[in-house]
């Protein structure tokens, strides 16, 4: 690895840090974040299927192998158990692996390595063997892909002690959250909303805080993306943009919607969630994953616990259905659409006790 480290120091020497505000796609924002992480930490490694020479099927690692060499950015065999198994060993040896599973559905073959090793090695070793593994997972649906390319795994990972789970909703968040996640000493599942990869947005490089976001001065916790008085829409990943559209449409009908981007799905920012719903007194949680035992249930319980006395209606869940993720032609029927979310809002608005 000494050559790789030397190469990285060379890159650091002529690397120009990012400054100011730029309009970037989420792909580009993630690429910039990874570039900075590699430049800043000679122990950081990126690998996965097609991550190296091709630059990733979504171009997230584009150009990084040319810049940092095949010792630090490389292709792996088509075996996710191997990608994550190797991450365990590299983390033990003091590296910071940033593996990619090419699509959400390909994380299943690596569940054993993620759940049985990465998530609990620190605990098992009484804190002597941390697992700084940042697993990038292009996630959720929306690109008309075939089976195993549109899964929403957040509830699965959030249920596992030892894992942190985060999903950015726009390019600015993607840049800052990935930079933050890739410098944590703990394993983080980084769920990239693949249907939002191509949408552009302002990225403010100078603040970890997101001065481009309506709120949020930290890469941890939830963000109020739009303030409102009558109902809180709780979402993450690609559903945040859709909820912001819904909020604008609801405003035409005189309903003032607050949109809370949860961002971190483990741990959930309970204080921000409760503060928002205590104000609006109604909540609708929106996710692409199936309904049963989805993260919406966790959100509903936290809201009920924290806002029981002031809630005007039971928390509504607008979600995917309890079926395997459908083929591309049917995904518009599966992913929560604007009308289904509006119906959810209508139900909490018209609910009356007794």
């Amino acid at each position: 690895m000494s050559n790789a480290i030397l190469e990285s120091e060379a890159a650091m020497a002529d690397g120009t840090p990012n400054h100011g505000v730029e309009q970037l796609s989420m792909q580009q924002a993630l690429n910039r974040a990874l570039d900075e992480v590699l430049a800043g930490n000679p122990k950081a490694l990126i690998f996965g299927e097609d991550c190296g020479r091709l630059g990733g099927v979504f171009r997230i690692t584009d150009g990084l192998q040319a810049k940092y060499g095949t010792g630090r950015v490389f292709d792996t065999p088509l075996a996710e158990s191997g990608i994550l198994g190797m991450s365990v060993g590299l983390a033990m040896a003091g590296f910071h692996p940033i593996p990619e599973v090419q699509f959400d559905g390909f994380a299943y073959p690596a569940i054993n390595q993620i759940v049985c090793q990465i998530a609990r090695m620190n605990y098992r070793s009484r804190g002597t063997m941390p697992m700084p593994v940042t697993l990038r997972v292009p996630s959720f649906g929306g690109i008309r892909a075939p089976e195993h390319h549109g899964e929403s795994l957040e509830a699965l990972f959030a249920h596992v002690p030892g894992l942190k789970v985060v999903s950015p909703s726009n390019p600015h968040e993607a840049y800052h959250l990935l930079k933050y996640a890739a410098t944590r000493p703990d394993p983080v599942i980084f769920m990239e909303p693949k249907s939002r990869y191509w949408q552009k947005g302002g990225v403010n490089f100078d603040s970890a805080d997101g001065s481009d976001s309506p709120a949020g001065d930290s890469p941890t916790g939830a963000n109020v993306m739009r303030a409102g008085r009558h109902v809180t829409l709780v979402a993450w990943g690609a559903m945040v943009a859709r909820c912001l559209q819904v909020a604008e449409l609801a405003a035409e009908d005189g309903i003032d919607v607050e949109v809370l981007d949860l961002r971190w799905l483990k741990p959930i920012d309970e204080a921000a969630l409760v503060a928002s719903v205590r104000k609006t007194r109604r909540a609708v949680v929106v996710h692409e994953a199936p309904l049963t035992s989805g993260l919406g249930a966790e959100v509903a319980q936290l809201v009920t616990q924290g806002c029981f006395d002031t809630l005007k209606a039971p928390v509504e869940r607008i979600t995917g259905f309890d079926v395997p993720y459908p083929s591309g032609d049917l995904e518009d029927e599966y992913i929560p659409n604007i009308d289904r979310i509006l119906f959810g809002i209508q139900r909490v608005l018209e609910y009356r006790r007794g």
């Binding site: 792909q27 091709l54 099927v57 979504f58 171009r59 699509f103 929306g142 690109i143 008309r144 892909a145 075939p146 390319h149 249907s195 191509w198 949408q199 009558h230 559209q245 819904v246 604008e248 449409l249 609801a250 009908d253 005189g254 309903i255 591309g328 604007i338 009308d339 509006l342 119906f343 809002i345 209508q346 608005l349 018209e350």
Partner: protein, 109 residues
């Protein structure tokens, strides 16, 4: 821009070739996924082949009456670099459409 070639698929069990009857698109055309591309005849039947993807047609192979073997190039598309090689399609940014209207009596207590 990148080019993606679509070879003649196996149109039925064991068929090895097909004859072009009529091209329904021309080079330069922008086609959508599932849009009919070409009518071909096999020893079993005449079928229309739907486009496997969206893109601009760059080349078509074979004119009416020509035989094409399964696996040989049938049509070549041009696609933007950032979509080449991915599974699925880049979602379109569409103006939000709605049918549901909200109505509520808000007792602001």
């Amino acid at each position: 821009m990148a080019e993606i070639s679509f070879p003649l698929p196996d149109l039925g069990e064991g068929l090895i070739e097909a004859t072009v009857l009529e091209w329904l698109v021309s080079p330069g055309d922008q086609v959508e996924r599932n849009q009919p591309l070409v009518e071909v005849e096999t020893t079993k039947s005449a079928v229309e082949l739907p486009s496997p993807q969206a893109g601009k047609v760059v080349r078509i192979h074979g004119g009416p009456g020509d035989k094409i073997n399964v696996g040989e190039p049938l049509i070549v598309f041009e696609v933007p670099d950032n979509t080449a090689g991915i599974v699925g399609t880049v979602p379109k940014e569409e103006a939000p459409k709605r049918r549901v209207r909200l109505s509520a009596v808000l007792d602001e207590d």
